[in-house]
Symmetry: C2
Subunit: 298 residues, 2 copies
DNA sequence: GGCGTCCTTCGTAAAAAGCGAAGGAGTGCG
DNA sequence: CGCACTCCTTCGCTTTTTACGAAGGACGCC
């Protein structure tokens, strides 16, 4: 073996993170002996020691630290490759590749897609969540058929149509000091503890980025999957949350919450549908676009 | 095989570039059957067709085009990893890792390193060429022991010492229309055909970048390894070249060339030695630094 | 000295990868 | 229409690689 491979790097990273070959092997679902031999093989191939061994396990050498940086970058890039390639694998008659940002995904698409799929039994939809700029790029490249993005995204030469309008609001428990405010700026809530969505969520990455622009980090107490879950935890009073207004209005009916509009321009989300070329889309995708464009439905 | 590996991607890229599995297999030093089976395995793993097969060979499908983008990025990143790791592998008593930009490499280091190695039989030097900003980063990270950079580079907290001063000059054949000028600006030579160094050369990448800042590209007729070779081809009158003044002065003695100073500030190269911490260097590296710092010698 | 923890080595088996040879598919030419 | 040519695929076999369980080694602690 002359050069390291991705499986080598994956095992190496798992061992470094676990702090022992024994634990790393377990995480990699390998026998200890196999993992040990493989690490030794990597060290032979590179001509360098990657770990110091001890009774407490292993610690990376300086060379191991360097390899870790590269391993993380390569494995992340490989994950992106596999994910993007998996999007191609569904291409075929009746299959529609749809990218959405977080607002649309949670609030509007479930009902609309349910109706679409009911009316088109042979169609399938691959729905994934992305940031708006990522969506426009993937639609432009032809990797996705349809995108739903915030109007602030640069859609370049893509064809776009209005979709829905929504707004992020701050939700707080009733009785919270902010509860009486008519509106609030994002930067003014950064001192609060936050209940957020997990890192895979596009909005979560948007909020982290907006906080970074203020030279701050979000004080995340917990990260959940889904805005409804966020509202429930906010109701318990352990932090504040940012959710779409439509989610908040629905949650207020059943939870002791107060919704406060965010004053920032980026918090108003005029959502738009974008496609590379409506005329060039397969018929099933075109019919989905027409449904998405139809006036607001319950 | 569930996920693609770097060897898969390397073979895939070779086939795509060659235009046939037969030629790609040859370039990868594999039998045709092995390459064919491996591509088929990749297509199975990804669930997507990567190539259209025909009597003329193969052409990438849209999915294949996407994979090619990712493959190139991953393989480039893997090459950087292996190269950086190979720098670690030489670490040891008496081994010195030295990074230099192109001027120093060509003009000053051969004589100085020759003298150093003559006086220190047990020492070894791993000398590589980089752009100055790359050098400062790798020295700061402890991956290299000693760096030689242009004084314009941001050396941050590194310890630096003067090394040498040099200047890029334009060399042209005697009789060239520029031959009478006392000096010339880089942007004024961009209409000329160029004789350059190969893409691995730091100065070549610097010049390409400077040209890009003028919204231009270098008109490279040929790319060579070494300034002396550049001078010889310039003498033949097929283009102009940019080389260190010391090279030009030596070349003028034996070739029908004219050297014209470049007027741009960046063309004046005050070279400096940088180290992370002189006191912390192994003794052999410290002694090399002292030799490098000594006043100009023949 | 015995015990516990973690890593390394060994022999073996299974899986993967590669090879040469032969066949298949498709196109162009006489 | 048959043949030749080009390129890819399949098959059977061999070699190499990878993984396993078991046992031993190194080291520190009680």
């Amino acid at each position: 073996m002359a050069r390291l491979d991705l499986d080598d790097l994956r095992l190496f990273r798992l061992i470094a993170e676990a702090g022992s070959i024994t634990a790393g092997a377990a995480r990699a679902h390998l026998a200890l002996a196999a993992a040990s031999a493989r690490v030794r093989g990597m060290e032979t191939a590179l001509g360098v020691r990657l770990f110091e061994r001890s009774r407490q396990g292993v610690t990376p050498t300086p060379a191991g630290e360097t390899l870790m940086i590269h391993a993380r970058a390569l494995l992340a890039q490989a994950d992106r490759m596999h994910e993007e390639m998996s999007f191609h694998s569904g291409a075929g008659a009746g299959h529609i590749r749809l990218l959405s940002n977080t607002n649309a995904l949670a609030e509007f698409l479930p009902d609309l897609l349910g109706r679409f799929l009911a009316s088109a039994p042979a169609a399938t939809v691959d729905l994934r969540e992305r940031l708006s700029d990522e969506i426009t790029r993937l639609v432009a490249e032809g990797v996705a058929d349809i995108g739903i993005v915030a109007s602030t995204a640069d859609t370049g030469a893509l064809e776009t149509f209005p979709f829905r309008s929504d707004q992020f609001v701050l939700v707080v428990a009733n009785g919270h000091p902010f509860a009486g405010r008519p509106a609030i700026a994002f930067k003014d809530v950064l001192d609060q503890d936050f209940v957020g969505l997990d890192q895979a969520s596009a909005i979560q990455r948007l909020l982290a980025d907006r906080a970074a622009r203020e030279g701050r980090r979000l004080r995340l107490r917990v990260q959940l999957r889904g805005f409804d879950a966020v509202c429930r935890v906010v109701e318990a009073g352990v932090g504040v949350g940012i959710v779409p207004e439509t989610t908040a209005k629905r949650a207020i009916c059943t939870m002791a919450l107060t919704a406060i509009p965010l004053a920032d321009p980026w918090a108003t989300r005029d959502l738009r549908i974008c496609v590379k070329s409506l005329a060039a889309l397969p018929e099933s995708a075109r019919r989905l676009v027409e449904l998405l464009r139809s006036p607001g439905l319950a």
